[in-house]
Amino acid sequence: MSSHSRTSPDQKKIALIGNPNSGKSTLFNALTGLNQRTGNFPGVTVDKKTASVTRVVDKNEHSFFYIDLPGTYSLYPKSPDEEVATSILTDKNNKDFPDLVVVVADATSLKRSLFLAGQIIDLNLPCVLALNMMDEAEKSGLQIDIGRLSNRLGIPVLPISARNKDGIDELEKLLASHNDLPAYRFIDASSIAKKATDLVKAEHKDRWEDYVALYRANRLYETDENWRERLDAVGFSPTTAQAEESLSRYGIIAQHMEACIRKGSGRSPMIKKIDALITHRVWGYVIFLFIMLAVFQSIFYLAEYPMTWIENGFASLQEWCVSVMPEGMLTDLFINGILAGLSGVVVFVPQIALLFFFIAMLEDSGYMARVSFIMDKLMRKIGLHGRSVIPLISGMACAVPAIMGTRTISNWKERIITIMVTPLMSCSARLPVYTLLISLVIPDRMVGGIFHLQGLVLMGMYLLGFIMAILAAWILHIVIKGKGRSWFVMELPVYRIPKWSNVFYLIFEKVKVFLFDAGKVILAISVVLWVLASFGPGEDFKNVERDIAQFNTISGDTIFGMPEGNQFVLKGDAIKELESRKLELSYAGRLGKFIEPAIKPLGYDWKIGISLITSLAAREVFVGTMATIYGAGDDENVEPIRERMRNATDPDTGKPIYSLAVGLSLMVFYAFALQCVSTIAVVKRETQSWKWPVIQFVFMGVLAWVASFVTYQILV
């Protein structure tokens, strides 16, 4: 899905571009506030953030359309995600081609920022330089002669501090009035790869400037097979040309720096000490462990309160609807299909908000880069990146926010592997399943005097998930072919106090994306599952009510109702029995029986088969389905369900169904199978295709089947 940019002719299109950590997002937030919309760029996984804003500048109303381009150091893309900025800025026919470019520069790291600014200038795009973090630069004793820099660059230069909203009004004024092309070029590109640029120039009617032609030659070489041959023939090498260009740029930058900048004092010794502690070989990991513990605990426990409110709120709403709406299929669809599905979507919001609160804090403070720094070597061994650590650990609470958090991993392959293995970590939805099954098949006794055997088994399940995630990552690392090399070449940004509004905007954006993008898929599948469980084929399903009433009339041992025309009023246990029979005869029930041969080797009967199908909606639904099947009512009180499951026997052998072998086999199945539509929906949204969620579903399903098979066959 992509939210289309709504632009009208009188809107001025303004693109924001800058290095990572240049404060570009902060500026975007300051300029646009809550007007921003998040969509997708076609074909890549970076979010497209845009905003239409109307402002009164100098008594005239101005309408701006802002596009936030992904952070980059150069206009030569190193990954498909970086390709976005390139394609927008160099194609006049692109619908997002801007009228004006704002280059956001980090004043404390001006050299690198001027590199990107120089490329924009040389592409001859109308642009202004927003010199961000001027307050910090001044604090560190850095003096920048703004007027002189502006004169030398030939574009307006404006000092701002996006964090403190300093200079935003002046910037808007400039954006409203400025339309000029840069006064002159940044570098003289005429001598670089001359034969190639001549070739490119000759092909086009409008006389291209030297740099535009050089840039085209580089791009054509990457994208056009035919051009590549022709450029090869004149001895063109993009790496050589780009290296020459970079050298030339930094040569000019050195001159500008020399003329406009007085050096500051450098970083404070205090910061150096903190940094040494955070990346220390012992304390670094202790601090990291402590922070992750805090993150994990809050997603796990803190989120539970709002989640309970949401669930109770929806339950009350459903009850209220039952009381006021007329009985019928549509009502049932609305209450048990749509409302239940919505509840299943909204219930994830607290966890997502909490995780992104922490991710924003860690990212904005500069700590995330240090985590990557100390974890990279360990993670690399299994094909992951230093940045994979936080999604993986968050996956122990819930895979949904964790997978949304993989955005910070820039390498495609490392990100895909992280997404693929995160659902193997034991999430909180598995806990009710484990709890029920452990209390059913594991004896409650002590081991070694201090350990509860049940507790040990529970811990074992968590460990099992973790080990399998590591193993799977290692295998995928070998199997998946990488797109592009994995770099660790990145900036360790300066430590900063996180900005609350940035944290808020990130949470807001992520929650919105989840609700409206992933939410649709989750809702749709929930409704399908509801249909499967509520309807059945043939006469049996239709007649189930009468059959039960008749049966009870004959046996005479239950309170039952009298036939009133074709209606039977069922009471007491007969209602539970009806629910149980209905489920058995429904499509889901038939499906459960249909798959019985496939799950027989794992030790499961069709009743478990039904639960496997219904818990596709969410793993914890297993408990509710079991309750319904065994006629224990669908309140989630474990006690009666457990008793009935314990007493359940195999009709052929007379032995209990829930033996140790079946219990453990079932737990292993839930540990590995992707029984979660929300995860599927989020993986689809994050990878922008159905390919990966399908692969993931199949690979985890096969893994679950094999592992459960082995478990059952060994123990039985």
Partner: protein, 80 residues
């Protein structure tokens, strides 16, 4: 002396960048300000010896050892 690379520096040591041995990586490093003639200082090494962080062009850059090994340097006397 001339075979020195960025990966061989000890924390606190300074050097001047000479050249690169990996063309593809050099494009990236050049863009990020690691130009020949630029001074670099080894800032710190991650636990387990990899990756490393160097001070260059007014900021801290981290890179893996294998990546640093493609940057040829010559050491300069520490002025601190």
């Amino acid at each position: 002396m001339n075979n020195d690379n960025l990966a061989s520096l000890n924390p606190g040591e300074k050097a001047i960048i000479d050249s690169f041995t990996d063309a593809e990586l050099s494009v990236k490093l050049l863009e990020m300000g690691c130009t020949p003639g630029e001074e670099v200082m080894m800032e710190k090494v991650a636990p387990f010896g990899d990756p490393i962080a160097v001070r260059v062009a007014g900021y801290t850059l981290s890179l893996r050892l294998a990546e640093a090994a493609t940057v040829k340097i010559h050491r300069v006397k520490n002025t601190n």
